[in-house]
């Protein structure tokens, strides 16, 4: 493994090994503090994503490495019309590893094709975002004690939500994962994900537009998503759909006591802030896992071992 462009490139064993390393770093951060000394991570963010960028940067700093890069296309050579390939060839002379975010789908794959150093896809448009999926998997595994044998509800924008699609395709590999797809009609999971991933993988799933409170009692994991304004042509549709699934304390009344509530963040209003202090709210612990699993990934791609 030299790059990570798409979560589907990873075998189940490779995922397990990354999550093991992530857990170990979390438990013994001191053992990892110097491992990437004198190494540099370039964060090439052709579109802003502060959260993801900071997570990568924190990961590299905590490994003792250093970070360089840019946080939006306007401050990069792309603004002058340079191709992705040329940018990466040049940056590859200065950095040991690259994390790239790009608004165009497939840009990190182009980068990986020419880069002299490993490339990590930090999100390419609505396409892939493998480190988010690794983050989700690490969090679920920690909270549930394993991957498999649980019922996960995915709620909100299942149509455009790329994190949902790749989480579903990652979880479909594990035994005994049951999916409950909760969304308004307009934001249903696309049929190609249902056919190519869920049906092809023999997964148990059902779709519902029912109220969250109605389905919540059977869930072990609840993955909330944000409805993004830019996906909609008119403001009314956006506001109507945005408000269709909001998690409130009232809806949690009949939920299991060990429910794991996740959200890729940032949230708008999908989860009421009153829930933040509930022990079942795991989304900030999820953000923490994001840093550790990125540390694990950087180590793996740089072939650095403890």
């Amino acid at each position: 493994m030299r790059n990570l462009i798409d979560i589907r490139e990873l075998t189940t064993d490779e995922i397990a090994s990354l999550l093991d390393t992530g857990d170990d770093i979390m438990a013994h951060p001191g053992d990892y503090r110097e491992l990437c000394r004198y190494k540099k991570l370039a964060t090439l963010f052709f579109e802003p994503s502060t959260r993801t960028r900071l997570s990568f940067e924190a990961a590299m700093y905590e490994l003792g490495g250093q970070v360089l890069g840019f946080s939006e296309a306007a401050s990069s050579s792309a603004a002058k019309g340079e191709s992705v390939a040329d940018t990466v060839r040049v940056v590859g002379c200065y950095a040991d590893i690259i994390a790239m975010r790009h608004p165009k789908e497939g840009a990190p794959l182009v980068a990986a094709g020419v880069s002299p150093v490993p490339v990590i896809n930090a999100g390419d448009g609505g396409h892939n975002h493998p480190t988010q999926t690794l983050t989700d998997l690490m969090t679920i595994r920690r909270e549930k004690g394993g991957l498999g044998g649980f019922t996960i509800g995915l709620c909100g924008d299942l149509k455009f939500g790329r994190t949902v699609h790749s989480l579903i395709s990652a979880l479909a590999r594990y035994d005994g994962v049951k999916f409950v797809l909760i969304s308004p009609e307009e934001l249903k999971l696309p049929s190609y994900v249902k056919n190519d991933v869920l049906r092809a993988g023999g997964c148990e799933f059902r779709q519902t537009a029912a109220d969250l409170a109605e389905v919540i009692p059977e869930l072990d994991v609840l993955y909330m998503t944000r409805v993004q304004r830019e996906r909609f042509f008119n403001e009314e549709d956006y506001i109507r759909l945005r408000d269709s699934y909001i998690l409130t304390p009232a809806k949690l009344i009949n939920a299991k006591s060990d429910l794991t509530i996740l959200h890729p963040l940032p949230r708008v209003n999908e989860i009421s802030t009153e829930i933040d202090s509930d022990p079942r709210a795991c989304y900030f612990r999820q953000a923490l896992c994001g840093k550790y699993v990125r540390m694990a990934l950087i180590l793996k791609l740089l072939e650095v071992t403890k």
Partner: protein, 139 residues
């Protein structure tokens, strides 16, 4: 070159009438130094009219794309004036610079210099997807 009979080379036969030039371009035959004959509107019992391309001497041409463009095409390999092989065409795993990705969010839309690559994602459904963004090719 005698158009009717070549000693060594390839005969690409049963091309839909009118599409020989497209195939000439897709196979990159313009880059060959050898003699290439394009026969347009030949009589065909099967098709009524057909095009034929005859390539003298060279036989090691990557013909995969033909399986995508027109699976009805037949390819005969000629050696020593004899027909030695009829090549079976099948859908290629990968198509380079044959299809264009129409997804405006795809990197190929922003960087026209990139090679257009599609891969066969479903053989039964003859579905190709863009290597970069996975958008389905329009048929």
């Amino acid at each position: 070159m005698n158009i009717d009979s070549i000693k060594n080379g390839l005969v690409i036969d049963h091309i839909r009438a009118g599409s020989a030039m497209r195939i000439y371009n897709l196979l990159g035959l313009d880059e060959l130094d050898c003699t290439v004959a394009i026969i347009k509107n030949a009589q065909s019992a099967k098709l009524g009219r057909k095009d034929i391309i005859k390539i003298d001497t060279v036989t090691d041409i990557d013909l995969d794309v033909l399986g995508y463009v027109d699976p009805g095409i037949t390819v005969n390999v000629i050696r020593g004036g004899e027909l030695v092989e009829k090549k079976q065409l099948s859908l290629p795993e990968r198509l380079e610079n044959v299809l264009r990705c129409r997804n405006p969010r795809c990197i190929t839309s922003a960087e026209p210099g990139l090679k257009q690559v599609f891969f066969l994602s479903d053989r039964a459904g003859k579905t190709y997807r863009c290597l970069y963004c996975e958008a389905k090719a329009e048929k």
